[in-house]
Amino acid sequence: MQNSIDTARKVVAEGMSGLLPELLLAALVCVLLLADLFLRGVKPRATAWIAVVGFVACGAALVQRYGAHAEIFGWVQSDGPRGMLLNDHFAWFFQMFVLAAALVCVPMAMDHAAFRSRRMGEFYALLAAATLGMFLMASSTNLLMAYLGIEFASMASYLATAIDKRDRAGSEGGLKYVIYGSVASGVMIYGISLLYGMTGSMHYGDIARALQVHAATEGQLMIAAVLIFAGFAYKMAAFPMHFWCPDVYQGAPTPVTAFLSVASKAAGFAAFVRFLAAFTAHDGTFFIGFGDEKVPASFGWPVIIGGAAALSMTVGNLGALWQTNVKRLLAYSSIAQAGYLLMAVAVYAAGKGQPSGGDLAPLIYYFVAYFFMNLGAFHVITVIGSRTGATSVADFAGLGRRAPWMAFGLGLCLLSLLGMPPTGGFVGKLQLLSAAVKHDLLWLAILAGINTAISAFYYFKLLKCMYLDRSDAGVIRSGAANMAVLAVLVAPVLILGLAFSPIADLSRGFGF
């Protein structure tokens, strides 16, 4: 007994030392809440600066952790240690990604019309809490931890969506989000319970080992896998769990929408890829449910994910065609983007079954591009929206004259989302397509091509409105700070499209 307690203390002590960024975020949540309660006299922006300092400190701690490879908060079984969280390069990338998105959302929130005059400590506390949940999602190696991370991130996001109590659209969006979210997480947890029954563990390594000795039939696995996939798809805003997306993105305050569309999606993908890796074991000799043929396929995952990817793109792009609200249009666009990203995951799953192993570089690269182009687009919408109240596509008429730099930034981001050269989106999509063709997913690549053509309609609709439609409205002053943020977000879109090879090389380092 003494021995096992000592082990537990050691595990906790080791875990805590490797957990500094997460601990800082947790402390930040508490500090922000208290600051909001007890600092009555201070200026509205004080809490925003506390949040910035907290995020930067967390980022510094995260930089310190770069290169670590440690599985923490574990227990020891006869055949080796197990853990809850795995800090490796993959987790590091997505944690940095989420943290950067949170940091970018702070100035956006400071600029947002409904927030400007308030202290908003709660909002930043929720932002930090969601970030913490996403950190845990990105590094989870245990279904329990993945589920807790998803729930933690989700709950903070629900409240952030409905934070403006007087705004009916926000409340509606929040209600939709929480209702669909609890259904998705319920379905997912039922799937987890079935998988736990088949394998006797929730640790990804144990699951992989149990599946290798044929712990379950393909049919049973299929049911559990599809149920669990529903939960992840919800966080990724991908088919079949995409219904919530348009209403939530439209109803939520724009900074929240930006954060959800980038960080929440990335964390969902990170958690899902980790889970997927458990299904497709390490050495490529993983045969399951395919009888004597020994087809080296990882149990139809490429087909399941490829199908979800194809449907996400199609549903997203077709839905976007008729949208007149800009945020709703970008919501459908982000469903379609989830489809492209899922394509990268399908390629990874297909590669996992082959001797060469899975390649996550296209996914990582596309995410880097997606970060800048999507946040850039939402930044412009926040700035323009908070100054003119613009919500519909028609409100952006003449923006090319009224706010030339903002219009240029938004235009570049839209071209990148569409996948036109010379932007990061183009290079990212090119990598995706070539990887898909290489791994015998030609049909998926063709579908993605057709979808890109469809999406041109609505991206160009907005572009045409900005540059060709006339408007008598006056010039919009955006402010130097907003211009700086715009430059930080938009310049990389161009860099990623022109000088892509160093980043593409770098992106290869963040796989498993």
Binding site: L159, S193, G197, G200
Partner: protein, 105 residues
């Protein structure tokens, strides 16, 4: 005498899950939908406890621990959902999810 085995637990859980899904699909009242979610969560919790008893390695309590977390998360989720719902109710006087679609065009 009938021995209660793993299959019986799983059957009950599957029925609970099916009932939950049925409620979610058929009811438009947000609170009823949340009740359905609660049924699904309890189905999963029952599965976890049963699997922990019958299928897990000796000495491991993963399933039991997960069940405790399910209880906690169900309460937290219900609290958040009801808080948002109360807020919407104060504005619209309805808890019907189909009514909350003023954004669609």
């Amino acid at each position: 005498m009938l021995e209660v085995s793993l299959q019986h637990y799983l059957l009950v859980a599957a029925l609970l899950f099916a009932a939950g899904v049925g409620v979610i699909i058929s009811r438009r009242n947000a609170i009823a939908v949340l009740c359905g979610v609660e049924l699904i969560l309890n189905a999963a919790a029952l599965n976890f406890v049963a699997f922990n008893r019958y299928a897990a390695p000796a000495g491991r309590l993963d399933g039991q621990v997960f069940t405790i977390f399910i209880i906690i998360l169900a309460a937290a989720e219900a609290a958040i959902a009801l808080a948002i719902l109360l807020n919407l109710f104060q504005q619209t006087n309805t808890v019907d999810v189909d009514e909350a679609d003023t954004m669609k065009e």
